[in-house]
């Protein structure tokens, strides 16, 4: 091995070996004193009988400040986004109520009894499916992330944007989605060999629609009906949404009402005017559905205050639209040296992966970076390299390395490196 697994640093800035926490010994000690009644020194929740929780459980009121950050656009009623507060969350599954949302004319209130999914176009038998009918189909469950391609777009600004991990990267969430494989329904309709694309359309007041390559629809696309085990939430597309693992969020059409099988793309408004990526020569990438490899650090992060020198855990999220995360490197000296982080839990394809690394902070200024690699050997680019690919103001598909600067006062802010 040759690698040190002690608490000796393995890279600059005090980064420790990723298994240092695991190999450290633990000592427990306890003392007790005799009392006539042990309740005298107990907190009230140990000495008071209480009742059951509500029919639908809620977070503790002590944790009630953990909410999505809603950002309405001034003068733009009905359009906007709310972001997942990653700085307050752990693990990889996003609670349904904290899943990010982006809508283009509000969240519709759809009566499931009056909602139908129509599949037509280049098919032998155009078909209509009700929610009740879909409930009888064989289903699949997949833990998959959804990310808006505008996520983290604030980092293209000349000055580093100051905000929490959720404000800056919260157009990203991960759920256990359950539903019917789209290939099952397309097979039932009988796809014409001339077909190559599918137009997916929502039943929202924007009639949001996107063109998707047919092969993706036949591959791992799902008509999702459940999110983390319960009916999909209105903000995520109740009663049904299209799930296209690894594709930009906008194409995962919510409130899905229609799939038109076509020979070519439809060139809908949201795949031409929006969600296209301006290049330096004035042309633009279109149908850039794939999302890249990416990571960011959730702790420490903006809004947190480090309470003095000592050992901390650096933790964050990594993912890739190409499949699995292979490795995450962390730097505590602004990128001069790197250490490999531990990847916690199972590494699922097109899902979020949690990374962790012990860090002995010496109390001085430090710049923390994370850099993800995926199984296709793709690596997160630097911000400069990312910016050089695109024209001015182009912020879709931002996946560059991000940095937090920790000050000697313990405050954390965003910096460009």
């Amino acid at each position: 091995m040759g690698e040190r697994e002690t608490d000796e640093p393995v890279a600059g800035g005090g980064l420790l070996h990723r298994r240092a926490f695991l190999t450290a010994g633990a000592v427990a000690a306890s003392t007790g004193a005799a009392h006539a009644s042990i309740g005298a020194g107990s907190p009230p929740w140990m000495t008071t009988m209480t009742g059951p929780g509500p029919g639908y459980g809620l977070p503790s009121h002590w944790a009630a400040e953990t909410k999505r950050v809603f950002q309405a656009l001034p003068g733009r009623p009905g359009t906007g986004a709310s972001r997942t507060p990653h700085q307050a969350l752990e693990g990889t599954i996003t609670p349904a109520g904290l899943h990010f949302e982006r809508h283009h004319n509000g969240v519709p209130d759809i009566d499931p009894a009056k909602h139908e999914l129509v599949i037509h176009g280049l098919v032998r038998r155009p078909l209509v499916f009700t929610l009740d009918n879909l409930m009888r189909y064989p289903m699949v469950s997949r833990i998959r992330y959804v990310e808006c391609s505008g996520n983290s777009g604030g980092f293209i600004a000349k000055d580093a944007p100051q905000g929490t991990a959720g404000q800056l990267n919260g157009l990203l969430s991960c759920s256990d989605w359950t539903g019917v494989k789209l290939s099952t329904l397309l097979d039932e309709a009988g796809v014409d060999p001339k077909a190559d694309w599918v137009l997916a359309e929502g039943a929202d007041a924007a009639g949001m629609s996107r063109s998707v390559p047919l092969w993706k629809c036949m591959d791992d696309a799902v008509i999702a009906l459940f999110q983390n085990g319960e009916a999909i939430r209105p903000e995520q597309g109740y009663p049904m949404r299209l799930l296209l693992p690894g594709y930009e969020g906008n194409a995962n059409v919510k409130w899905l009402r229609r799939l038109k099988v076509t020979a070519g793309p439809t060139y809908a408004k949201d795949e031409t005017s929006k969600y296209t990526d301006l290049l330096p020569d004035g042309r633009a990438r279109i149908f850039s559905l794939d999302l890249g490899v990416k990571s960011f650090i959730t702790k420490p992060s903006f809004g947190m205050t480090m309470r003095g020198a000592g050992v901390y855990e650096i933790a964050g999220l990594a993912w890739t639209g190409a499949g699995r995360v292979a490795r995450v490197d962390v730097s505590a000296d602004g990128g001069k040296s790197w250490a490999e982080a531990a990847l916690d839990g199972e590494r699922l394809s097109k899902s979020l992966t949690r990374f962790r690394l012990p860090w002995r902070w010496d109390g001085g200024p430090a710049v923390l970076l994370s850099r993800a690699h995926d199984e296709t050997r793709a690596v997160q680019p630097t911000r400069d390299a990312w910016l050089a690919q695109f024209g001015p103001g182009q912020g879709y598909h931002y996946n560059a390395i991000q940095a937090w600067a920790v000050g000697s006062d313990g405050n954390v802010r965003s910096v460009h490196v």
Partner: protein
């Protein structure tokens, strides 16, 4: 390019059969092995067989499809009857659109729709309908399905043709007195028609 298997409706071409796995048969051509000449067809059984489907899709009637098939591709297929002029569109625009999109679509508070033609490769690119959108059919499609934001799907087909004509007339893409309909709209040459690079994901091999 290999031919995609054409799978029929379970009720028509195969017996889905409870508890019996249905396998899809794909045909592929493989090079002949030594001692054989030419090519030989080998049927391959898909290993990831689909489970039996209940086949509950109800046939959609032509009327049901027509009621929801509102998307308009670049060919113009599906464009409705009717027409509208840029002159009519100017009046509708000032009444229903200007408060969000500014005079003549110059923008504010919502998206700027006009101007900016030729700016995309400059340090200050301006993306508008005129400067950026590749197809006029998209303008018709989007206005008809989603505009105005406060009353989507309230415009008539004639009003939608008129608004499309007006917006495109501001930058001279169509004439100031242009009339658009199902025949003329798909023929409009948008300035940035050739400005896109298709990077659509390809099926992994």
């Amino acid at each position: 390019m290999s031919e995609r298997p054409f799978s029929g409706h379970p009720g028509e071409s195969r017996d889905p059969g409870f508890f019996r796995s249905v396998v899809r048969v794909a045909k592929t051509w493989v090079p002949a092995s030594a001692g054989m000449t030419g090519m030989v067809a080998i049927p391959l059984l898909a290993l990831a067989a689909a489970p039996p489907s209940p086949g509950l899709g109800r046939p959609a009637t032509p009327a049901e499809i027509a009621a929801v098939d509102i998307s308009i591709p670049p060919s113009g297929a599906g464009l409705p009857a009717g027409s509208g002029s840029a002159v009519q569109g100017a009046a509708i625009f000032s009444e229903k659109c200007q408060s969000c999109h500014g005079a003549a679509g110059a923008g504010g508070p919502m998206d700027r729709l006009t101007g900016g033609v030729g700016s995309l490769a400059t340090p200050t690119p301006v993306k508008t309908v005129a400067s950026y959108w590749p197809y006029a059919t998209t303008v018709f499609d989007y206005i008809r399905r989603a505009m105005p934001l406060t009353a989507p799907q309230s415009l008539t087909d004639d009003e939608t043709y008129a608004l499309t004509a007006y917006l495109l007339s501001v930058d001279g893409i169509v004439a100031k007195d242009a009339v658009l309909d199902a025949a003329s709209l798909p023929k409009v040459a948008m300035p940035n028609r050739g400005g896109f690079v298709d990077v659509s994901p390809k099926k992994p091999r």
